[in-house]
Symmetry: C2
DNA sequence: ATAGATTTATAGCCATAGCTATACTATTTA
DNA sequence: TAAATAGTATAGCTATGGCTATAAATCTAT
């Protein structure tokens, strides 16, 4: 049943979004704070904090109380993989003829459900279109 | 924030899967029973029952205790829309060059995150490829 | 018609993700 | 430096979706 795969994807989806975002904040700002994460995700700060706690317990991130959040090696791997995948899907949608806004919005949802095989096909398509 | 859209999609995702499946069971078997739904989705019967209760309260389905499940008009609309969308995404992935199995599995996850604009582009692509 | 099998419903548990309200810590600024 | 502001943590609530175990209803077949 492919439904199981989808459910499984959902579990990791939120994790991937957080890790990708933290990585981005670390790059841009040098630190990743709860407030920024909450703002960027459009959720309450308490919710972000709770999820960050889970990610910490699961070994994806490192942090000291009241300090910036950092990625563990494990977390970094996932973040960079997610980032690549996101880029592929985003470019693919652009190459399909969509505007940036739509491509960006749809990529956000689609990226977590794209298998490696499909990702390869998207990359091929992108290569042809040469973007 | 597009993340909000994604979260919103998640809420309706499970609903759409159920309604689409019920519609399919009604067509094929003439009735949709909890056991069949649970089997097809790969979940416990009690879980299926609970979700069906929610769908009932939300007015998507109709049923009498211990009897088959039927779709309300509201439910039928969603089911048929979902079915169409699913087909488009599935065909699109086939046209991209993927095998049936992968196309089917990925479509299951992707379909819920495809906007109308993207759906149109996929349909165009399908029309060109003529499948 | 009733016993046994199947199906459906319910109870009670867990995890996740969302919220508000409030408490606590750190930083900034007057 | 002390007060105000900003940021973080915690408590307690909701809803969803997953599970197992068990009870209740329906079907089936003897």
């Amino acid at each position: 049943m492919s439904f199981k795969k989808v459910r499984n994807a959902h579990k990791t989806e939120n994790t991937e979004d957080y890790l990708e975002l933290i990585s981005e904040l670390l790059t841009i700002k040098g630190e990743a704070r709860i407030v920024d994460i909450a703002n960027r995700l459009g959720i309450a700060q308490a919710t972000a904090n709770k999820t960050i706690q889970r990610l910490q317990h699961q070994g994806f991130i490192k942090r000291e109380p009241y300090r910036s959040i950092f990625l563990s090696v494990k977390g970094q791997k996932i973040a960079s993989h997610s980032k690549k995948r996101h880029n592929t899907v985003f470019k693919f949608l652009l190459n399909l003829g969509l505007d940036e806004k739509t491509a960006s919005a749809d990529a956000e949802g689609i990226e977590h459900h794209v298998s490696d095989k499909t990702l390869k096909k998207m990359n091929k398509f992108n290569a042809k279109k040469n973007v």
